[in-house]
Symmetry: C2
Subunit: 271 residues, 2 copies
């Protein structure tokens, strides 16, 4: 399906675009099933947060309407929305009157091996560290060189994802996923107020944990916490949940909490 | 003058471009005078460094040839080169065989008030901090949201530049300049191994200081060091050198070392 720019079919972008020049903008990647964008509320919430913190005044009702129309036309797949600060002359200064630009693109669901979800995945322990930048932490902004460098650390199919720590050694996230640890009835996921992308499925799991009988905690987590966990899983809003069975020397079983959450998430994303 | 993409006139870019998606690439901004790109060796050196550290295998002889041709056609102004990792399917994974993409754009010299160079400038003390990321430090990569946020902290003409510190409080750079302090016969400029952009004019000044009778030192610098300096100036390869006369409560005179370096730099950039 052809891309849309500001609501109209368009395949290209001007070279003065600030998304290209500075990574000046943010993006969202939505799973579309049966013509419906999944976890749409969560994606719009994160856009609203990015809009506020990057001072990019976005008309969220318009964005929601466009995503709904585009998803309907797609039917199934991955919908990527990029919001940039549009074009500007050279230089970092922003024009307060500039209208944010909306780019919608469709792609097929990634063809991950079914075993990722069933028997679990092995994480590559990335040496690329996430810098501590509270001004950008949590946002899915367009400055993603850390992820590009981390993803380039491994090739081939032995590792489905990589594990990233921050520059002070805390466990933060996967390259394109969030991380959860399960210890007893408690779900732990890293605090993302210094770095990391606060995923929409992460937010959904944190919100639902209570009603499912678990306790959810956002905390600073170390590799020692990871080693001590009963279960570990990674998640994102496209593939759902993958049990993690190993990372470096560490190993975990695929546990009952992970399996239960997988069923819950499948209902949210797939059906 | 029309932009070139990979050596040919082209005004647009595909939406799958990794420069847009992830800021996956780097750029250079060259002053062009009398058809000649100035400080070209230094710009090519920084490109080579970025090419190596971002694993973007660039044909530097080709880049040099293109810049020379484009600058000749421009005559005078600012030449901006953006190098991206080209297009790719969705996802952070890079294709080792992908050819980097070269974008050349021309713009007029910025119309800075002549007083910036003559009577000096006042720096805005930015509250946006630079994160510590040794993997990207020194490079002029396309992930520049910190600069966008910092530049948005002030409006109007009272401040010509902003001063940025890192997240641990060290003085690092301007938003679009490097910073030097002068104390006696010694030039100090911040160490940029944790964050910051290692400017080409900064490199040129460091290399020339010895032959001009000064000592040049790259060091960790604090606001206290700034306060104690005899002279302060900011520089970049487009405007040259601006004396700094104030930042917040701090004030400095326009000193003889700054004036001497301005003459030297004018010869490099303007004539």
């Amino acid at each position: 399906m052809q891309a849309w720019v500001d609501g109209r079919p368009q395949a290209t972008l001007g070279l003065g675009n600030r998304g290209l020049a500075y990574g000046d903008g943010m993006f969202e990647t939505l799973r579309v099933t049966a013509g419906q964008p999944r976890l749409l509320r969560r994606h719009l919430q994160r856009l609203a947060e990015a809009s506020r913190r990057l001072a990019l005044p976005l008309d969220l009702a318009q964005v929601e309407h466009e995503i709904a129309r585009y998803a309907q036309a797609m039917g199934e797949g991955v919908l990527k929305l990029i919001v940039t600060r549009g074009d500007s002359p050279r230089g970092y200064a922003t024009d307060p009157a500039a209208q944010p630009q909306r780019i919608l693109q469709a792609s097929a669901l990634p063809a991950y091996p079914p075993s990722h979800a069933s028997t679990g995945v092995v994480l590559f322990p990335c040496t690329t560290r996430l810098a501590l930048q509270p001004a950008l932490a949590g946002l899915k902004h367009l400055n993603r060189l850390e992820q590009v460098l981390a993803r380039a650390e491994w090739q081939g199919g032995a590792f489905a994802e990589g594990l990233m720590c921050d520059t002070e050694g805390r466990v933060i996230e996967g390259v394109f996923s969030n991380v959860f640890l399960v210890t007893g009835r408690t779900l732990y996921t890293p605090d993302l107020s210094r770095c990391g992308v606060a995923g929409t499925l992460r937010a959904e799991l944190l919100a639902r944990a209570g009603s499912e009988g678990w306790v959810a905690r956002v905390a600073d987590l170390t590799l020692g916490d990871l080693a001590a966990a009963d279960e570990v899983f990674v998640c994102n809003s496209v593939y759902g949940i993958w049990p993690v069975i190993a990372c470096g020397e560490l190993k975990w079983p695929v546990g009952v909490v992970t399996r239960t959450l997988q069923r819950l998430v499948r209902a949210l994303l797939d059906s």
